[in-house]
């Protein structure tokens, strides 16, 4: 390199930009470097010989790439590292998004946990009026439904896979023909719809709605569990459709006429919270107040189990009871108000007196299973008692189009049978399976030339349709929905559709709107145009962001209508039904696990022990012990799992209005005599691998004349027997008092009635220690106050800043709804084991809800139900730790009883030595390692256990450690309420309290200081950290 050469280059106008003087000089060395190293293969390109070689190699590799492209493809998606970190996302840290789940058209606001874009856990949305942070089992199990491998994944025509475009073109062509006749032959069948966006798409005034394009088309709604009776009751009493909303925070006396308002139905999570707020006993016993609940019902429900008084009554007799009550309250014009028996009359008198003494603070609530007249009567009674505007309010219905759904499905079937229907679009639902059996829906459907089904599963209805379009799950799509009080939530997706399915909005938009639009645009545009007061640009953007963040759309709550007056003129018009007391009654109920059958393929819900019967995987004919005796049917304990799983029952053949079904019986203490209850939803034929063939199909007995109950069922013992999987067949407490209970009066007199001996740390928390005298009079120290024996060993030093975790469960407010059970399963990756394993006593729930009965089973009214969630007690003196030979279960420094899965060899000695039997063992390989879609839904913070390993509740240790890390980053101690265990977080009643017992201000310490506090089996000196508050009831002295 020389100066001359450089000057020459610059002077000649060589490269203006140069990387180094070498390039500028264009030296030989630079040329070599350029070819050899920097731009790869540049050398080969310049050399004609090696260039050939290079091209051959490139061609070969491209060809190979092409071949591999034709082979089995990995799931669509590109694996690329984040170039820029997405907003708010830190790998490994979950994010939460607000969304909502709709069931029966009613939204429950949710907050869904997402790990790297995969939804893994559902929590309640604290801001949502229908949740307040609680969720139910269905919302908890939504994760499993989303990842269900049996979900429908492709468009089919006559069960053969087809393309989406082909389906759209066919349907558009068919619709084009309908345009000429204004859509006379077009019918749409949906479930209950409260989505404003879908309402607009179907009935809106804009050009692309169904109604504007096909003015003569008709939209029917049908699903098996509806509020039709409520709607009709409102029409009777008020002459218009209404939506009753209850305020339990102001109700001191509540009468439920077969309303399971604590177990299911619109707003039940909110109602549980409100109701229990008046039942939670805190503070000085002398000042204690509790509400009072009377329940009159047929099939025992969680609400009945909680009630202070429960009157078992055949469903058809409840109307008479309501009339008698109305008469007793002095309402004019009531006919048929004679109860017939002195015993019943005593109830009517006592309840009427109690309600009368609490004017404006009482409430009569009626379940959707009772006919419209009972609802109307309740409106009258509530009005008479001055409860309108205090405990009950009325709004407009939350449905887009309130319909008598029974009438709608009848109309549709008639139209189809007459051949008037050319195109039937079934958007969601499963009417072929769940429509009233007497209508002949399937036969009528065959006359429709084009039947299309949009649904999550290729179910029974899809099998009877030409086209099936797979629908998106609610966690995959944009939509909106109203809560029980009308508040709208935007349903926002947590994940892109797993199988490129379409949401109902997208499908409807393609059919009627012409162009394919995304669900996001559809929902957002609706709100941009229709959000009152927020339709302008910036105003909308801010509000939209807020709505998505909070999970509720401001200003959409429906206003109550204070001026409504219930009339009495309908009373004369409605006939009083005569009841044949000797005829057997058949009652229909939804399944508390799989609802109307839609969740049949959800293993979590199938395996969930039903709240009171503790049955899993099957339904049964529920009857009282006396009815069972009169029918000559029995149930016995099998030897495989015994009382813990293995129930062998007789089968009966039910004949009702000409339809027959063979079903196993289940004896239910507290069930009224002369009545049989069946729950529908089981007996699916096309549910999927999990749900097909469980139980029997009770819809085959359900007719349009008896949607919820009917008289005249014949039951005949077939002689066959059937094995049911029931997790707890033992009913009695065997004088062991696991559940301690008392009345409010007893509590005020003896606040410490439950404290026989203490749980962990009760000694220091109990301000007034109860003396525990020596069991033998005259022996020992009768004034002994020590609650656990002296020991030579020094206790572990848990003093601050260490934590000392503890839990308190208030049995008074627990309704046994099971949400905690499913939440625990979802949070902790607990496997589903199947019916056979449950019958062997091997179900894997870490948290179970024990159910006990007291009273005479043959006197249904005397039966009282007690519920007790039982999870690991995290004993301070844990019997399990002592006996593990490999130290796989050990005590942590903050008092947890840890389970080290990696170390467990599976001797099962710990389970034998656990007095609570809360440990669960992987007897076989239960965790599903094979199904890919299920892997996405697992909680990445919890180990998936292999076979041969013991497992149990850990107080959600992953959440504890997460909160501790968070606190450490912020240089502060963990605050009370930072950690919510999975069971605690979902509990609508807030019965479960978890916290640090070292923090004197914590909620858990407050609970443990309550006089009702007791430790389960604490007399064994296990010193449990999970302790209970004894259950309290507030019975009416007049009925005792």
């Amino acid at each position: 390199m020389s100066w001359e050469r450089l000057r020459q280059q610059l002077g000649e106008g060589g490269p203006v930009y140069w990387r180094g003087l070498e390039e500028l000089a264009q030296t030989q060395e630079f040329q070599e470097m350029l070819q050899r190293e920097f731009p790869e293969q540049a050398g080969e390109w310049n050399n004609p010989l090696t260039r050939r070689q290079f091209l051959i190699l490139m061609a070969a590799s491209l060809a190979l790439g092409g071949i591999s492209g034709c082979s089995m493809q990995p799931p669509v998606g590109k694996i690329v590292p984040y170039v820029r970190q997405p907003e708010q996302l830190t790998a490994g840290k979950p994010l939460y998004y607000a969304t909502a789940m709709s069931l029966g058209g009613v939204a429950t606001g949710l907050l869904v946990e997402s790990h790297e874009g995969r939804p893994t856990k559902v929590e309640g949305n604290v801001l949502h009026p229908g949740s307040l942070g609680g969720t139910d089992v269905f919302a908890q199990a939504a994760i499993l439904e989303l990842y269900d491998p049996d979900r429908s994944q492709s468009v089919t025509y006559l069960e053969q896979p087809r393309g989406w475009d082909e389906a759209v073109n066919t349907l558009r062509a068919a619709l084009e023909k309908q345009r000429a006749v204004g859509g006379k032959g077009l019918r749409i069948l949906t479930e209950t719809i409260t989505s404003p966006t879908l309402g607009e798409q179907l009935l809106g005034a804009n050009r692309s709605s169904m109604r504007s394009r096909f003015p003569f088309s008709h939209w029917h709604q049908y699903e098996p569990i509806t509020r039709t009776t409520i709607l009709e009751g409102g029409k009777l009493a008020f002459g218009r459709a209404i939506n009753p909303i209850y305020d339990f925070t102001r109700a001191k006396v509540v009468l439920s006429l077969e309303s399971n308002f604590l177990g299911c139905g619109p707003g039940h999570l909110r109602y549980v919270r409100d109701f229990m707020s008046q039942r939670r006993v805190q503070g000085k016993p002398a000042d204690t107040r509790m509400n009072r609940l009377y329940v009159v019902e047929s099939m025992p429900s969680p609400t009945g189990a909680v009630g202070d008084h429960r009157l078992p009554m055949r469903a058809e007799e409840i109307e008479g009871f309501a009339r008698a009550l109305a008469v007793q309250l002095g309402i004019e014009g009531i006919r048929g108000g004679d109860t017939g028996s002195e015993k019943l009359h005593r109830w009517v008198r006592a309840i009427a007196k109690d309600l009368g003494m609490h004017r404006g603070e009482g409430l009569v609530i009626v379940g959707e299973t009772q006919p419209a007249t009972v609802h109307a009567l309740a409106h009258l009674i509530n009005q008479t008692l001055g409860n309108h505007g205090t405990t009950v309010a009325y709004t407009d219905p939350i449905e887009v189009q309130p319909q008598n759904q029974l009438a709608e499905i009848e109309k549709l079937v008639q139209a189809m049978a007459k051949g008037e229907v050319e195109i039937l679009l079934i958007l969601g639902g499963n009417p072929v399976f769940n429509a009233p059996v007497d209508l002949g829906l399937i036969q009528a459907m065959q006359k429709v030339p084009l039947r299309v089904h949009l649904g999550l599963y290729h179910n029974e209805t899809a099998a009877n349709c030409h086209w099936h379009i797979p629908e998106t799950h609610f966690l995959e799509a944009w939509s909106d929905c109203r809560a029980y009080d009308g508040t709208v939530s935007i349903i926002q997706p947590l994940i892109a559709p797993l199988y490129r399915n379409k949401s109902v909005h997208e499908f409807v938009s393609v059919l009627f709107g012409g162009v394919e639009r995304t669900g996001y645009d559809l929902v957002r545009d609706y709100w941009r145009e229709h959000w009152p007061g927020r339709t302008t640009g910036t105003n909308f953007e801010g509000g939209w962001e807020r709505a998505l963040h909070d999970g509720i759309v401001q200003g959409t709550t429906l206003e109550s209508r204070p001026g409504l007056r219930a009339s009495t003129d309908w009373l004369a018009r409605t006939p009083v039904k005569t009841i044949d007391p000797n005829a057997m009654e058949l009652v229909f109920r939804s399944d508390p696990g799989i609802y109307d059958g839609r969740f049949a393929n959800n293993g979590w819900l199938q395996e969930l022990p039903r709240p009171l019967s503790k049955l899993t995987w099957d339904n049964a004919v529920f009857l009282s012990p006396a009815t069972a005796r009169s029918l000559g049917v029995k149930q016995t304990v099998g030897i495989q799992g015994g009382e813990h799983g293995d129930a062998i029952t007789d089968q009966v053949e039910l004949t009702f209005q000409g339809n027959k079904v063979v079903a196993p019986v289940w004896i239910m203490p507290g069930h009224p005599d002369g009545s049989l209850t069946v729950s529908f939803g089981h007996g699916r034929t096309r549910a999927g691998h999990v749900g097909t063939g469980t139980g029997f199909d009770a819809y085959r007995l359900r007719t349009s004349r008896a949607m919820w109950f009917g008289s005249g069922v014949q039951a005949r013992k077939t002689g066959g027997s059937f094995t049911l999987a029931c997790t707890q067949m033992h009913h009695a407490m065997e004088e062991r008092d696991p559940v301690r209970s008392g009345t409010l009066a007893e509590y005020i007199q003896h606040p410490h009635f439950a404290a026989q001996s203490g749980g962990e740390l009760q000694e220091e928390f109990q301000e007034e220690l109860v003396p525990v005298p020596h069991p033998h009079p005259g022996a020992g120290d009768q004034s002994e106050r020590r609650l656990y024996p002296l020991t030579l060993y020094p206790g572990y030093d848990y003093s601050p800043p260490r934590n000392r975790w503890g839990m308190s469960i208030d049995l008074s407010v627990c309704v046994g709804c099971n949400a905690c059970v499913v939440a625990c399963q979802a949070e902790n990756n607990s496997p589903v084991v199947g019916k056979t394993e449950v019958t062997r006593g091997r179900e894997m729930h870490w948290l179970r809800i024990d159910r006990y009965y007291t009273g005479d089973p043959f006197d249904s009214a005397s039966v009282k139900t007690y519920l007790q969630p039982v999870l690991c007690m995290q004993c301070e003196n844990a019997p399990c730790e002592l006996v593990c030979p490999v130290g796989a279960t050990v005590h942590s420094a903050d008092g947890l009883n840890d389970m080290v899965y990696n170390r467990c060899v599976g001797t099962r000695y710990c389970s034998n030595n656990c007095p609570y039997k809360v440990r669960r063992f992987n007897f076989l390989q239960y965790a599903d390692y094979a199904t890919n879609s299920l892997k996405l839904g697992r909680n990445p913070e919890v180990t998936v256990r292999s076979r041969g390993v013991m497992e149990k509740c850990t107080y959600c240790v992953q959440r504890i450690r997460g909160a501790q890390i968070e606190a450490e980053i912020e240089h502060r101690p963990v605050r009370d309420g930072d950690i919510l265990t999975a069971c605690q977080a979902v509990c609508p009643a807030q019965a479960i309290v978890f916290g640090d017992m070292n923090d004197p201000t914590s909620e858990v310490v407050r609970c443990k200081k309550e006089p009702r506090h007791y430790g389960l089996l604490a007399e064994l000196n296990t010193r449990p950290r999970t302790t209970y508050l004894a259950t309290l009831r507030n019975p009416n002295p007049e009925l005792e």
Binding site: V637, G638, I639, Q640, G641, G642, E643, H644, G645, D646, H730, A732, M733, E734, R736, P738, P775, R840, G841, R842, D850, R851, Y852, Q868, V870, P879, L882, V883, C884, P885, V886, G887, R903, C904, V905, G906, T907, R908, Y909, S911, N912, N913, P915, Y916, K917, R919, R920, F921, N922, F923, L924, Q925, S946, R947, G948, V949, M950, L1016, L1017, L1020
Partner: protein, 469 residues
Amino acid sequence: MIEQGAKSETRADTAIPAPVGQGYTFGSVSDKISALVLTGRTPRGWWLGFLFSFLWLMILLYAIGYLVLEGVGIWGINIPVAWGFAITNFVWWIGIGHAGTLISAILLLLHQQWRTSINRFAEAMTLFAVACAGLFPLLHLGRPWFFYWLFPYPNTMKIWPQFRSPLIWDVFAVSTYMTVSLMFWYVGLIPDVATLRDRARSRLAQITYGILALGWRGSAYHWHRYEVAYLILAGLATPLVVSVHTVVSFDFAVANLPGWHSTVFPPYFVAGAIFSGFAMVLTIAIPLRAVYHLEDFISDWHLENMAKIMLATGLLVAYGYFIEAFMAWYGGNRFEQYVQLNRMFGPYAVWYWLLIGCNVLAPQLLWVKRFRRNTTLLLIVALIVLVGMWLERFVIIITSLHRDFLPSSWGMYSPTIWDWATLIGSVGLFLSLLFLFVRLLPIISMFEMRTLVSETQVHEHTARNLGEE
């Protein structure tokens, strides 16, 4: 050896019959016993018996294969009954083993000469029973491939076993027991193996027995050291007779489960172990004696002695049952009371009463001398006791677990075909080993019997003298 025999002379009592039948010499004793091993043809009966046992052993292997493939869920165990047949079988087999050690060690130290004719196969039986027993704790693990985590071995994880757990004590107790029993048995075999070596005609047998004989030449030094070693081993084995089953009983007694948590367990378990052990020795001795015509070595007197021990231990066990029931009532603990009543009248009552019949009633026959002398009846009683002792463990384990504290978690247990296969298979393993033993090693200690020949002669002489006076 001669000296020892001479010493016992003074202890000879006319009431005690001769330990060996009439007319035996040192040579004929060795001939008769070693012939069982060294005759050319294997008897057809042996083949049949071995084939049968081997078939059962194959069932065991199949059951184990399936178990490892699928998991312990193939058995009937569940929550709450997390222990079932496996632990029942373990305790049963380990109990059976106890008779061998008792016979060889304790009776040796107590100078009970009559033990000589039965100690060899009793010890072998101990080993095989412990081998069967040892299988079960291993197989019943959820992850059996990690069984070695129960041993205190140095490891990179720096984790020790959890020494407070009775299962760890079990590991030590059983492995010590196995080791000491094996050594005791083998040391006792050495002089006899040397005899076989010397008498063997085939090269293979000569070499095999030669290696096993460890160069035994029968010198006085050898005999001296042998005697010392044997005594030391007997001293070591003696506490094991008591300790092993005591530790096994801790598996239950240490737990807080009503029906398990009981201080009577250790002595009651040891008595039960010896009870079942002698039943097993009788079960083996009676057919063996008949088939191989060993009446001269294992006389009715031997059998009667064993029957007496069985009766005595049976009474101890019966006392255990009684005291369990009594303490349940007297203790006033609601849970204990329930367990006891549930055992007697609950769903497993049949098994409880069957066990009472087997273990308490059946041995009462042995009060009568005529019955003790009836070998067929004795065999039947021994078999009944074996079944009874198995039932005892079953009842203790299952009835305590299936209904414990909280009624909500009560359940039941019933065995599956795989439970049965493992139990039957373990019997197959035991019998297969026993058949091989009978064919390959002297079932009666030849050299010790030779000691008794001289003693018998002295015995006869004394009797004659007494008669003359």
